[in-house]
């Protein structure tokens, strides 16, 4: 590929602008630089902390240029669009030149390729020129296409070639990039990326979009039957697993286990294991001690919001709230007591009461709201509460994915054709000499001339051997 190809001037200046490879190189480097900026400025969710330290003026510029979301900014897409246009126009612009080389049919009796021929590529055999020529042609046709010959008074010529389609190799690469970009566009228009948290035993039919928190109905529901997390002996996580059931109108249609690296697919939507956590259930076990004349202890299991009578019959109470981690001091419940006569009182009871007392001595005495003995003469102790896992699923639909994989496949194929295959053109000249018949081979290649030379040396040796054997047999 010579630089002359490009210099053919086109009358339209816009066309000229878009068909220049200088533009391609500039765009590639600009895209690289912009991408670097995008990795240095925190993007999307991560940008919030960074943005706080910026002055209002700087913030305005950042927002104007979409610098917190560079890769999805209009101008970034515009750059990619220009690159795509550049690629299409370059490809069209090049077509006539490539077509010419693809279709070129050089004369079989060209002499130029035979100038400065290395000794390895010419040899003598015994026999008649016509029969030798026939044998050579037979072997030649097996290896090369579009074989044409020409006989003159004192020489016989042959031309053949291989791999002329490789001139179009870079079209495969360019096409593959366009297909990948198309896949990305299809994905961003018709697909979505969302997440949903489902508590064990619970189900969900609506997921939240990752980009704009939109609620997306799935058209079916997903139930999480079971979630488990396994650890190695050293405490690092080994496996996260969610057992899911997909239902429609209450009917279970499919069951699947989702693990990291093993998503589940249902109706074109894919579910990935992304996150997990625990939530508290609505039942707690309480120990209530009444410290009057003699201590009276009762154990109760209470459901959130259910009024329960106090063990001594002095009124009722209820568990008004349950928190998995209240004020960073662990699980706690809010107890609301309604005495038979008197004012309503409410206070928090921690499960890890003793530890908290150790860490912050006197804290529960100081704040009445945190005192488990706030309603005299009772002391509440939170023994345990139900916790359940929830699984965090990433939910995605991307109809562009097959296009992207097709593009990737084509690209790799295109690389092999463009970089490792070449258009090889070979000439053979057969002349009569005093001692016998001289056969000479020559050729040229669009790439890798060393490879062609190796091929020709190999060909000449096998021809020589074959012809000599035939001669001996005769």
């Amino acid at each position: 590929m010579m630089p002359t190809l490009e210099s053919r001037k086109h009358p339209n200046p816009v066309w000229r602008f878009f068909c220049s490879v200088r533009l391609t190189i500039t765009l590639l480097i600009i895209l690289a630089l912009v991408s670097i900026v995008g990795t240095l400025i925190p993007q999307r969710e991560a940008s919030i902390a960074f943005a706080r330290n910026l002055s209002p003026a700087a913030l305005k510029i950042f927002f104007f240029l979409d610098l917190f979301n560079i890769y999805h900014a209009i101008w970034f897409r515009l750059l990619i669009g220009i690159l795509a246009l550049n690629l299409i126009i370059c490809s069209i612009n090049r077509f006539p030149g490539i077509w010419k080389r693809f279709n070129a049919t050089p004369r079989p009796d060209r002499q130029k390729p035979f100038e400065d021929l290395p000794g390895e590529l010419t040899f003598m055999v015994r026999g008649e020129r016509a029969t030798v020529a026939k044998d050579v042609e037979h072997a030649f046709r097996k290896k090369y296409r579009r074989v044409r010959d020409k006989a003159s008074k004192d020489a016989y010529y042959m031309y053949g070639e291989r791999g002329r389609l490789t001139h179009f190799g870079f079209y495969l690469i360019h096409l593959s990039i366009l297909i990948i970009l198309m896949g990305a566009i299809v994905g961003s228009i018709f697909g979505f990326e969302a997440y949903v948290n489902i508590v064990e035993g619970g189900e969900a039919g609506i997921v939240s979009s990752t980009n704009d928190m939109d609620r997306i109905p799935l058209g079916f529901t997903v139930r999480c039957d079971h979630f488990s997390v396994d650890f190695y002996d050293n405490g690092t996580p080994k496996e996260y697993r969610s057992d899911l059931t997909f239902l429609e109108k209450g009917k279970a249609l499919m069951k699947a286990s989702v693990l990291v690296n093993h998503p589940a697919h249902f109706r074109g939507i894919t579910f990935y294991q992304a996150d997990y956590g625990t939530v508290v259930g609505d039942r707690v076990r309480l120990k209530i001690i009444k410290t009057t004349s003699k201590a009276e202890t009762s154990l109760l299991e209470v459901k959130k919001g259910d009024p329960t009578s106090l063990p001594g019959g002095d009124g009722t109470f209820e568990v008004a709230d349950i928190q998995g981690d209240f004020m960073n001091m662990g699980p706690a419940v809010l107890i609301r007591v309604l005495p038979a006569p008197g004012q309503e009182t409410s206070f928090w009871v921690f499960r890890d009461h003793e530890e908290i007392e150790k860490r912050y001595p006197g804290i529960t005495q100081k704040f009445i709201k945190l005192n488990p003995s706030a309603f005299k003469p009772y002391t509440f102790i939170l023994q345990s509460l139900d916790t359940r896992y929830y699984t965090g699923l990433q939910v995605a639909k991307d109809p562009g994915v097959p296009l992207v994989w097709t593009g990737c496949f084509l690209m790799v194929g295109g690389f092999f054709v463009t970089f490792f295959m070449s258009h090889r053109r070979v000439w053979v000249r057969i002349t009569s000499e005093k001692k016998g018949v001289r056969i000479s081979l020559a050729g040229n290649a669009s790439k890798n001339p060393v490879g062609l030379e190796r091929e020709l040396v190999h060909l000449s040796r096998s021809l020589e051997q074959g012809l000599n054997e035939k001669e001996r047999e005769a």
């Binding site: 590929m1 010579m2 630089p3 190809l5 490009e6 490879v21 200088r22 391609t24 190189i25 590639l28 480097i29 895209l31 690289a32 991408s35 670097i36 995008g38 990795t39 240095l40 925190p42 993007q43 991560a46 890769y71 990305a184 990326e193 190695y232 050293n234 690092t236 996580p237 080994k238 496996e239 996260y240 693990l259 990291v260 690296n261 093993h262 998503p263 894919t270 990935y272 294991q273 992304a274 990433q394 995605a396 991307d398 994915v401 992207v404 994989w405 990737c408 690209m411 790799v412 690389f415 970089f419």
Partner: protein
């Protein structure tokens, strides 16, 4: 056991470097042959140690290919560099490249073995790495990195040779092949690296598609590999279509390799999904 052998491989490659250098300074072929022998032996020990580490992980009950953290990746990086270099040496019959490549391999080994921040312990695989794509992804990426590393060494050689066009500083540079050969070899390395990087990005995105739910999420490592890809795409276009040769290409290749290094190490200082290679 394996990490013990590997820490010694550092010195083996350094020894090879010493003899390659001696060959260039003294202009005697025998030192080159010694250096190559050391390199081949080092590579054999290196391969053995990697296999041993693989077996050890199975003995610990957490069997996995030794490609799972920074230590293991550095070891493999160094391995691919030497392997690829020896292939180039065998094909080109020239040993001077060894002087510029063995320090890279030795440095990578030294960093892996002696940096206090890098643990050589065999650790179990986190769930995200449990995939058949781990081996393919790592192998393609690191052969790409290695090819770019060799291209970097060739670029340095090219520039050295260019600045000494009269051949005055004879002794040291005399054995280095001519600039045309260096330029052509550099191009071939960029082609191999580019193909491998492309395969690495593709296998990575197929993997990400099943592990993270998206084939491309602009994670810093992904983005930096794309940046590297764009730079080398620019190198190939400027050479194949614009006809650039020599100095400009050598400089672009050096910029390209610094992007490779940032993709490999620098990204660890940015937050992202791809945090397995941090320590």
């Amino acid at each position: 056991m394996s990490s013990f052998i590997l820490s010694y491989i550092t010195f083996v490659y350094f020894g090879a470097f010493f003899f390659y250098l001696l060959m260039m300074v003294m202009g005697k072929g025998i030192f080159g042959k010694i250096a190559t022998t050391i390199c081949v032996l080092g590579l054999a020990g290196h391969a053995l140690a990697i296999v041993l580490r693989w077996i050890e992980s199975y003995r610990l009950g957490i069997g996995h290919a030794p490609f799972s953290n920074l230590y293991e990746s550095l070891i493999f990086f160094s391995f691919t560099i030497i392997l690829l270099y020896l292939i180039v040496e065998w094909r080109t019959k020239n040993r001077t490249l060894g002087t510029f490549v063995t320090p890279l391999a030795s440095l990578a080994m030294a960093y892996a073995s002696f940096s206090p921040n890098i643990s050589s312990r065999i650790q179990p695989l986190v769930p995200a790495l449990k995939s058949n794509w781990l081996i393919t992804h790592v192998i393609t990426c690191f052969f790409g990195y290695a090819a770019f590393g060799i291209s970097f060494a060739l670029s340095i050689m090219y520039l050295l040779k260019r600045f000494d066009r009269g051949g005055k500083k004879g002794i040291f540079l005399r054995l280095i092949p001519g600039t045309l050969i260096l330029d052509d070899l550099n191009y071939q390395m960029v082609v191999i690296g580019f193909l491998m990087l492309t395969l690495g990005i593709i296998t990575g995105s197929v993997w990400a598609h099943s592990a993270w739910g998206s084939y491309w999420s602009w994670d810093p490592k992904e983005t930096w590999s794309l940046i590297t890809w764009l730079i080398y795409a620019a190198v190939l276009h400027s050479r194949l279509v614009r006809g650039w040769r020599g100095r400009k290409i050598a400089i672009l290749c050096m910029i390209g390799f610094s992007c490779v290094l940032f993709t490999y190490f620098g990204v660890n200082y940015l937050a992202g999904l791809h945090s397995y290679g941090k320590s």
